[in-house]
Amino acid sequence: MSDTTVAAPIRISDVVKVWAERSPDRPALLESTGAWTYGQLSSAIADARAWLRGLGVRPGDRVMIVGENCRAFVTILLASAAVDAWPVLVNARLSPREVDEIQSHCGARRVLYTMGVSTHAADHANRHGAVLEERDGFGSVGIGPLNQDVEPEPLDANVSDRVAALIYTSGTTGVPKGVMLSHRNLLFMAEGSARIRSVSPDDRLYGVLPMSHAVGLSVVLLGSLIAGASLYLTPRFDPMSARVLLEKERVTLLLGSPAIFNQILQYAKLRNVSSLKLPALRIISSSGAPLDPATKSGIESLFGMVLHNGYGVTECSPTIALTRPETPRTDTSIGVAFPGVEINLMGSGGQAAPAGGVGELRVRGPNIMKGYYRAPEETAAAIDGEGWFNTHDLARLDGDHLFIVGRTKDLIVHRGFNVYPAEVEAVLNAHPEVFRSAVVGRAVGGDEEVVAFVQPHPGSAVTRHDLAEFAILHLAAYKRPSQIVLVSAMPVTPTGKIVKGELRKLAEGNLGSKELARLPV
């Protein structure tokens, strides 16, 4: 991949230049409305740079992009980075309240909306009084009014340390925070990800993970562009359209989330197929949420290949660990540390966890964010003086392979015993009638009860009694749920993570003995 005549990328927008010069006619970005080669993408970015300047964007300004995966989103993002503005990446599926909070907090100079592919983006654009513009290759883009009351942030003297993306974490607890990721952070992640998977210009990636989130941005988008590969952009996932595209376009890498892979399993059940062999596909990998053993084995049986796993958080750009193609696992380990990243498990009392023991996972390396925007205290609390970032996830090491046990804040202490919700969830999820479950604690008179929310497969007649009996077979008494609540849907973030905070509130409310038909959305 190296070329002595072209400088190594410094800004994320530079990743396109190598291939625009070396092989301008190779396909870069493809979507249902059309495709661009690397040459065309490079030209589009150059045009967009001038366009943004014309819209009043200055170096250090925050340019908020409300959108879903499409060429417009990618171009505006890379052009903003190229002019040293800060791209603020916002998933159009966020609620009006969430979008407005981000806009207010980041002090956006302009807000742009990828209306061509996203009715959600169009709704936000209409709410905000955006002006519609049709641009070549972009489709419809909404341009929000110029905010004259904001000031640009000063630029780092070192270009690599400038903010390349500002991503607000939805998280599963707490208030969203703006994570500042530098060019160095994102390029480190893109290069490493591409190298681990041996991504080359002959590869075709399926770009369904949202690029407004860290893994979609650094691993999928930049990981594809930096290797000169082709990326099929799709703003939404359904397993039927995905199957058609994977087959027709001979996709070679499929990076998805457990939710996506579960939907593929449901598709296989609907179509009554036991095998989905795609000869061109060489790597499938899951990230973004815990991978259930049942999902892993189901997908591996269906595709006839290993389903890899990875783990990360936005603050770490995001990958902390992943399984390697050369050392596949049969369990749901999150793999080994990303090359160049240090990991450390801290036990109680601030000492290192004993060998094989559970500890709080801390991370240090070129992937650690610059900090939280306009939140210096939260930044100081997250990254210590020696550069260690605390994930607040509990993990253990088996050799050099990591296993996530749960979140520190999720730990339930029942009758003096530690109950890890992830363990109870794994048992419930192994029941053949269960689609997914989420376990939370409920404070009751000085103790904590274990409460399980269970979503059965569509059409299932499983009862709480069935699941309670199942739990008796597989869990020690202190780990068994005091209450099992059947639901037809779970509250999830735009990336499919279950929002346990909402479930905790429900658990603390008066659930009684009723089964909830559907949780309020």
């Binding site: 359904d238 397993p239 449901q266």
Partner: protein
Amino acid sequence: MPQPIQSTQTTEIEREVRNFVVEHFLSGHTEKLRDDGSLLGDVIDSMGVLDLVAYLQDRFKITVEDEEVMPSNLDTINNLAAYVARKLDAKA
């Protein structure tokens, strides 16, 4: 020669499909269904597409091919009803 589906049948298909979408995806809240609104990705998420396909196949005894899962066939109540009518017409 097969006769085209009558307009009253299309209206009936539309009524049934509308009822299913409202009951299954909107918890009975008819007012949340916008006539000009996009169903896919808005009212119906990716898991919902599977439920929708299962319903169409069971209720109307048609086969929804993977290649037919596209906005022009499924994205509005009108498109859905017209799609089902075409599939039934082709079977007749």
